[in-house]
């Protein structure tokens, strides 16, 4: 013990020293990213190289980072919040912590893909699709509308993820599109078809591959991630007919914090995501839709975003519906 004591003390001293240098580094642009490092790490590197701006990124879950920013308040070290979905951006905006983006930035994307109050902007799009098993289902048998999924022949064969933000956004969009009564009726029809309830899109895709279910309501790009790991992953996407609520296009997006120490660099970062480099990156590397007209080619094998024509709804409207959507899901027994 006597000999241990100096060792213990010096370890504590090391800890203290590390604490001192681990603090908030005011010289760097700080990005909180709900998007995975494996997906956007290279984009951040090329931003550094192209602009000479030094960036540090805190990676985490979008919603958890939104809650963190809300608890940090004005003391947040974050300059930019780069989120996996519009919902988390809406939450930070509701907390009054985002600042208005310049009109020139906002105008780069269609009004549907940005905040009506101009505090966040969509940076890439993803379409809701029905994923199906290529082993047990012919694409011709996959319905073209989510409304057909209540048909008894899909009983026990569907998977969905009520806790997932993009599923909730889709239900909110359906409510705006066809009304609450029809949406609730549809949810009850789905519930009657004994769906498998999953946590998120990846779990849904995996459940299809495992043979637990044949069809799943997911975002279109997950199957590409899974194919990168397992080239023969037995799942494919079926895009729904134009105007169907099930064809909703969601976005990942970014906003700048009011408390940002480096607002100029933050603006450069957001503009970079919307410039040709960023837009092409999303198309090539994350298999998402570019949202800025003419800036980038869409990924191979995807229908043009104009053809998707989900319900004609601005994503900014969905945030206000979230609470009542969750209540409706609770009511019909599909709790998040």
């Amino acid at each position: 013990m006597k000999r241990l004591l100096p060792i213990l003390l010096s370890l504590l001293a090391i800890g203290g020293g590390l604490a001192a240098c681990g603090g908030d580094d005011g010289d760097k642009l700080t990005v909180y990213s709900g998007r995975n490092e494996k997906l956007i790490g290279d984009l951040v590197e090329s931003f550094k190289k192209d602009t000479g701006v030094d960036v540090e990124v805190r990676y985490g879950d979008s919603a958890e980072l939104a809650a963190t920013i809300a608890e940090e308040g004005d003391a947040s070290p974050a300059d930019v919040f780069f989120s996996q979905d519009a919902g988390a951006l809406g939450a930070v905006e509701q907390a009054g912590l985002l600042k208005a983006l310049p009109q020139a930035t906002l105008d780069k994307v269609d009004a549907r893909w940005r905040d009506p109050k101009g505090q966040w902007v969509g940076t890439s799009g993803r379409s809701r699709v029905i994923a199906y098993s290529t082993e047990r289902v012919q694409e011709g048998d996959v319905p073209d509308s989510v409304f057909d999924l209540t048909d008894p022949r899909y009983k026990g064969r569907i998977g969905l993820a009520p806790p997932n933000a993009s599923f909730q956004a889709f239900v909110s969009a359906m409510r705006i599109d066809v009304g609450d009564a029809k949406t609730e009726e549809w949810l009850r029809g789905i519930k009657a078809n004994a769906p498998k309830l999953l946590e998120n899109n990846i779990q849904t895709e995996e459940a299809i591959a495992r043979g637990e279910i044949d069809l799943g309501l997911v975002n279109h790009y997950y199957v590409y991630e899974l194919r990168a790991e397992r080239p023969d992953f037995p799942v494919a996407n079926h895009f729904l007919k134009a105007g169907d609520p099930g064809a909703l296009v969601n976005v990942a997006g970014a906003g700048i914090l009011k408390s940002a120490d480096r607002p100029r660099e933050a603006q450069r970062f957001v503009d970079y995501l919307l410039a040709v480099q960023g837009q092409q990156y999303f198309a090539d590397k994350t298999f998402e839709y570019p949202l800025v007209d003419g800036e980038a080619e869409r990924p191979d094998g995807l229908p043009p975003i104009e053809d998707l024509q989900g319900p004609d709804i601005a994503l900014g409207e969905l945030g206000g519906k979230l609470k009542s959507t969750l209540e409706m899901l609770d009511r019909v027994g599909l709790s998040a």
Binding site: M1, K2, L8, L11, L12, G15, G16, L18, A19, G22, G23, D24, D25, N36, K38, L39, E56, V57, R58, Y59, D61, A63, E64, L65, A66, A67, T68, E71, E72, A75, S76, P77, G87, A88, A91, Q94, P163, A165, Q168, L197, L198, E199, I202, E206, A209, R210, G211, E212, E225, L226, A228, E229, R230, P231, L322, K323, L326, D330, S335, A336
Partner: protein, 530 residues
């Protein structure tokens, strides 16, 4: 520390530690009360009652199963002539190093529908792993080592003369075990079961992956979908109430079965029980547990690591993650042990309701999901300790708050063994307080402290939710790398850091086991809470 009445500095530092450990509770109260009636409405919902019911079922099932496995293995390893018992003594403790979410992922991949076993030998796979049975099994297999380690240590230092007396009075071996051995092991088993229960209450990975809708999952999803911190805080408080219930129940049952050590204990190992024709079935049972809880997840990770598409990280990167993991785990183990000392000393010297409630406060925080601990420290650090925010110091502090009960389990038992008369004798012979501590107290308490520190070290190695939110930016650990890779389904890339996590933790478990054997008393039971 020389008289029966606790000196002021001891009480003050114990209160200070308990107050710091209670920060998450304070945060939940601030948020819960701030939410007003709207937030509390969630308590009255039918769904919340269902969540509580399912959580109670899990907290009944997982510790029961973990106790059965842990006590059975401990008895076989310590008290019988089972072949290979020394080897199993180490192997059976090793599942402690496997993160429960990795275990759950491995279960699904191996025996789930469409899993590896189905691929290799045909068959539909085990659909039952999703839901209550799978979640209970996974949690029990991930946590039974707590019971195993504490029980094995208690068995090793048990006074064999008690059992011998019972036998000589005509009791059968089974009756002697039931009437003498088991009651003597009660505190150790209870302490282990409580650690399992707290783990089951706070764990998110297993219930999420194995689709069991428990309170922790609801709390996470409350943050994830509504971004509503108030109702989530109220659900967190419900969890605290459940934790308190678990602690009170455990203390009650402990009171009923107390057994004091005889004055002059025979300090010799008990005679081994000959298993006879049960020797090989016993080996098979131990092997089965080790196969499912240890070999299976490691095999699945190996299989992922070798599968196509794996982009192996550079050695420098891996060394960096491993170094970071080891550094924070070591610091957390030291800090948690230091923090546990005043609490344990106060509890050992003064068996008052006050000392007891201080201890319970630290347990209550342990059962909260990591996200709640993290957000509470975000809240307090940004308001009152901004220079510390997102530093290593705050991260280590978060680990201490999360895992203090594990350090306490080691320290409490250790300090109880110190007879104040010994210290008084040392002082009487002219030794100063420091010399008395170094020569008398420290050698007596070292094994127990080491056991507690080891548990904290292992828990920190695999901790994820608090690490993600509180680490300094760019501070990647093995656990965060596993998270990053599984986040994009890149299991082959997750395999390397996950395997390394296990490989680096294994020697620590081995150390714990060897020390236990050598010193006869490493993992001590906490003091009886009368």
């Amino acid at each position: 520390m020389r008289s029966r009445s606790a000196p002021a500095p001891l009480a003050v530092s114990a209160v200070a530690v308990a107050a710091l450990a209670a920060l998450p509770l304070a945060y939940l109260l601030i948020r819960g009360i701030g939410g007003g009636a709207d937030a509390w409405e969630i308590v009255t919902r039918g769904r919340t009652a269902a969540l509580v019911g399912r959580t109670v079922a899990l907290v009944a099932g997982a510790p029961a199963l973990a106790t059965a496995i842990g006590v059975g293995l401990a008895w076989l390893v310590v008290r019988t002539d089972m072949p290979g018992r020394r080897l199993f003594g180490v192997l059976a403790a090793l599942p402690l190093v496997i993160p429960s979410y990795v275990l759950a992922l491995a279960f699904i991949a191996a025996i789930g529908p469409g899993g590896l076993t189905g691929e290799l030998w045909g068959g539909p796979g085990a659909a039952w792993i999703f839901g209550y049975r799978g979640a209970t099994l996974a949690l029990a297999l991930a946590t039974y080592p707590y019971v195993f380690l504490l029980t094995a240590a208690a068995l090793r230092r048990m006074d064999p003369s008690l059992e011998e007396a019972a036998r000589s009075l005509g009791r059968s071996r089974a009756a002697a075990f039931r009437q003498v051995t088991l009651p003597a092991l009660r505190p150790a088993i209870g302490a282990g079961a409580v650690l399992v229960a707290l783990y089951a209450l706070s764990d998110f990975g297993v219930v999420s992956l194995l689709r069991y809708d428990a309170l922790t999952r609801a709390i996470y999803n409350q943050y994830r979908s509504l971004f509503d911190r108030e109702p989530a805080a109220v659900l967190g408080l419900v969890l605290v109430v459940l934790t308190t219930a678990v602690l009170v129940l455990e203390a009650r049952s402990r009171e009923r079965g107390r057994l004091r050590r005889s004055g002059a204990a025979a300090d010799r190992p008990a005679e081994l029980v000959p298993l006879g024709r049960w020797r090989w079935p016993a080996v098979a049972a131990c092997a089965a547990v080790v196969a499912v809880a240890l070999v299976l997840p490691v095999a699945v990770l190996e299989w992922w690591a070798l599968s196509a598409g794996a982009e192996l990280p550079s050695e420098g990167e891996v060394a960096g993650w491993a170094g970071n993991s080891l550094l924070v785990s070591l610091l957390a183990a030291l800090a948690a042990t230091a923090a546990a000392l005043p609490l344990a000393a106060l509890a050992a010297r003064r068996r008052t309701a006050f000392a007891r409630s201080l201890e319970r406060v630290t347990y209550a925080a342990n059962a909260l999901p990591g996200i709640v601990i993290a957000l509470s420290l975000v809240f307090f650090a940004t308001r009152v300790a901004e220079p510390l925010y997102q530093t290593l110091a705050l991260l280590v502090f978060a680990y201490v708050v999360r895992f203090l009960p594990q350090a306490l389990a080691g320290a409490s038992g250790a300090l109880l063994r110190v007879d104040p008369k010994l210290e008084q004798a040392s002082r009487g012979l002219g030794a100063g307080p420091w010399r008395t501590f170094a020569r008398v107290t420290a050698p007596l308490v070292a094994p127990g402290l080491l056991a507690g520190a080891t548990l904290v070290f292992l828990s920190t190695m695999k901790e994820l939710p608090a690490t993600l939110l509180l680490r300094p930016i760019g501070f990647d650990t093995l656990a965060t790398e596993v998270w990053t890779a599984t986040g994009v389904s890149a299991y082959s890339e997750a395999a390397a850091p996950a395997l390394l996590l296990i490989v680096l933790s294994a020697p620590v478990v081995w150390l714990l086991q060897v020390r236990t054997r050598g010193e006869g008393a490493a993992a001590e039971e906490p003091p009886p809470r009368e």
